[in-house]
Subunit: 424 residues, 2 copies
């Protein structure tokens, strides 16, 4: 018998995991080839970054906190991989309440809320298990789940009920491989805020089905009506909950990459195992930037209430403006938001026969009006588009004006086509 | 037929992945129960963080760079997940050279060198494949590989050859499932620095076997002899190389979590696939803190040469002191380091029959002398221990004095037992 020795050859392939890791927004947006109308300056209502136009700077106290942390020279070395004890204490104190007490040991600091979600999913689910994810919903959930080999089951949100969860649908998706339910409140992309009552019903499902919850509360407290935000964990004393959040949105510093997981486990159902699992996983990349960690106390405790109020009243004012304007646009059905920084607009596609899809609708809107919103196909929800509400007011007004013009031009409703002016 | 409906019960388990994610140093250190001698203040020569004792602060320009980045208010929003184009340009310009040209597109910014290694492994290897890792070596390689389901094969470094690689051994480990070879130069824990010639031989192995290289050069340029550091990539124009680095060690800010991958692929063997894979993987947690990214230009281009020189001459002076002192200690065989910030010391275990292992040896050293070094079992290399060289000089001197006392006390060499004083 002869052994044939093959000369090795180069054959470097990207891993399966890297191929499964996939941001649907990028895929959709990168495929949109529309060229903006050169006669109209581009207005991007697409970017979920409230800082891009400079109209919503972070607070001076936040800036001061960072400079003090740098000057102290105390925060240059390695922190524990789950964060400094003192910084975890700050977060625990900020979010603790009698119904859901938190201590430093219940807090894990992460590189943004994104990594909080990544660690939470990585500790709760094995490849082959599934998680329940809202539709429409933030695309990262699916990106991370598929990257980890976890199956995604989408439960419906109901636009006609201010995007409440179709609880029966959600419960019907639970099976013995369901590792957790993801709740996102306030919601990206809906701008919806769940009532206490609805949250209690969600908890009932989890309790009945014995499924833990990952709640993404990165927009927590960012609600238009005072007191309308209710965190999920304080409403339950038996469901194990990982609550993910961060500085990104409320403190208007998404680039700083500081997030957290709050572990709520009053019945010790997660137990030591999940806590230790999270700690072990955090050792892979060793936590968020120590300067931001060092600044946390100052950031969370000295930022004036006025700052938070201003962000909200600004966003609410744009929300009102946008909702009111688009409500009277033929063929559009905006859904009034109650928080976060987004508004979803339904497209009555039957009145726009020219367009095959929301993606199509948006592409033409770019080329004719230079207004760019994300088609909600990005959020697994065709025939809607999402508007970001944190842009400067003039931009919001002009964008709404152009969206109206665009729709009036292309609307082909039975009764009203004749009445509408269209210069195309 | 009757369907029996089982009432669900709580059964939340930590994922397999979280169980496979495992830092051996933690496991070993946490199991060491020794209580330091209360009569002697503790000296920790164990922590690979050059900032802990305050004797090696970062440069003022680095501090200034950060404050300017904060004041500019330009770096609060999201950056692209692989980093700002301008920041990637800075890194590319800093490390480019005619033999290995780099542009911004070849740079990926990460949350520390740890995440650089994580992404590099995640894109190159599938579960079930293997990687070659140095022994002794930095424990994170194995932690990350096992977490990803990648097998680890350890190739030997040779203490008697200043920790050069046993190339024959390394090559013998390559099989058709080998996804990459990890090279770490300068080395943690060895403090060794490979010559150009040795690097060329390493490249020959990779070339013959057609295996890409992940080189961890986080201690790049941190060498005692001027010009002694040679980066790997410029020596090859055909091997695909991912070179990982970061600010942590050379700029003395490990907590800031800024690292990078430099993609060297002049023969396009990685091709679009690996580049795109890295980009997709980076979208999971969205890159390092934007303030540090914004400060990069200033940090890399305005930090005075003197700062780097000072760190090196300080470390070298401690290295000389430590090496010289321990060379004359009975039963110890220090290996002279040439860079990084570590020194490995062999223990002639046969002369210390009281101790079963390096871990044992170190535990007793803690309880008798309050000196803590890492047993090299942490690096898969029993019968050695690692000394961190960046501690204040007085501490280094006192630690060496105590280590001598400890060894003289426990040494049971044939000829010399009688001569040695021992007060125990
Ligand atoms: C619902 C939701 N969760 C999480 C994130 C990610 O937050 P971070 O930037 O802190 O990673 C976002 C960002 O847009 C978001 O909209
Ligand atoms: C060889 C080596 N590589 C990588 C790292 C991790 O670097 P970072 O802190 O930038 O993640 C270390 C840290 O000690 C190291 O010694």
């Amino acid at each position: 018998e002869k052994i044939k020795i093959q000369k090795p050859r180069w054959a470097v392939r990207a891993s399966e995991m890297s191929k499964k890791t996939f941001n649907p927004i990028r895929a959709i947006v990168d495929n949109m080839t529309a060229i903006p109308n050169p006669d109209k300056p581009m207005i991007a209502l697409s970017i979920g970054d409230p800082t891009v136009f400079g109209n919503l700077p972070t607070d001076n106290e936040v800036v001061k906190a960072m400079k003090e942390a740098i000057d102290s020279k105390k925060y240059n070395g390695y922190a524990p991989s789950i964060g400094y004890l003192s910084s975890r204490e700050v977060v625990a104190k900020y979010y603790t309440c009698p119904e859901a007490p938190l201590e430093a040991k219940d807090v894990i600091l992460t590189s943004g809320c994104s990594q909080a979600i990544e660690l939470a999913l990585a500790v709760l689910a094995n490849p082959g298990q599934n998680i329940l994810v809202p539709r429409p919903g933030f695309s990262l959930y699916k990106t991370l789940a598929l990257s980890l080999g976890i199956e995604v089951k989408l439960y419906n949100l109901l636009p006609e009920k201010s995007w409440e969860i179709d609880l029966r649908h959600m419960e019907s998706l639970v099976d013995n491989k369901t590792a957790c339910i993801i709740i996102n409140n306030p919601s990206n992309p809906c701008g919806s805020v769940f009532s206490r009552k609805h949250l209690q019903k969600i908890l009932s499902v989890a309790s009945r089905q014995c499924v833990p919850i990952l709640t993404d509360e990165i927009y927590g407290d960012m609600v238009f009506e005072e007191g309308a935000f209710q965190a999920l964990a304080p409403l339950s004393n038996n469901i194990p909950i990982l609550s993910c959040g961060g500085l990104a949105k409320r403190w208007l510093v998404p680039g700083w990459r500081l997030g957290w997981i709050l572990i709520h486990d009053r019945k010790e159902i997660f137990g030591k195992e999940i806590r230790e699992g999270l700690m072990r996983l955090s050792q892979r990349i060793l936590g968020p930037c120590t300067i931001v960690q060092g600044a946390l106390d100052h950031i969370m405790n000295k930022t004036p209430q006025e700052f938070y109020d201003n962000t909200i009243s600004f966003t609410k004012s744009n929300a009102d403006l946008c909702y009111t304007t688009l409500s009277s646009v033929p063929g559009l059905c905006p859904v009034r938001p109650a928080g976060a920084m987004y508004l979803m607009v339904g497209i009555e596609m039957e009145y726009f026969p020219e367009f095959e899809s929301d993606v199509d609708f948006i592409e033409r809107m770019i080329s004719e009006q230079s207004v760019f919103c994300l088609p909600a196909t990005c959020f697994e929800y065709p025939n809607y588009f999402r508007i970001v509400l944190t842009v400067p007011e003039e931009m919001m007004i002009e964008a709404c004006r152009r969206i109206r013009e665009y729709c009036e031009c292309h609307y082909q409703g039975a009764e009203s086509t004749q009445d509408l002016e269209c210069d195309k």
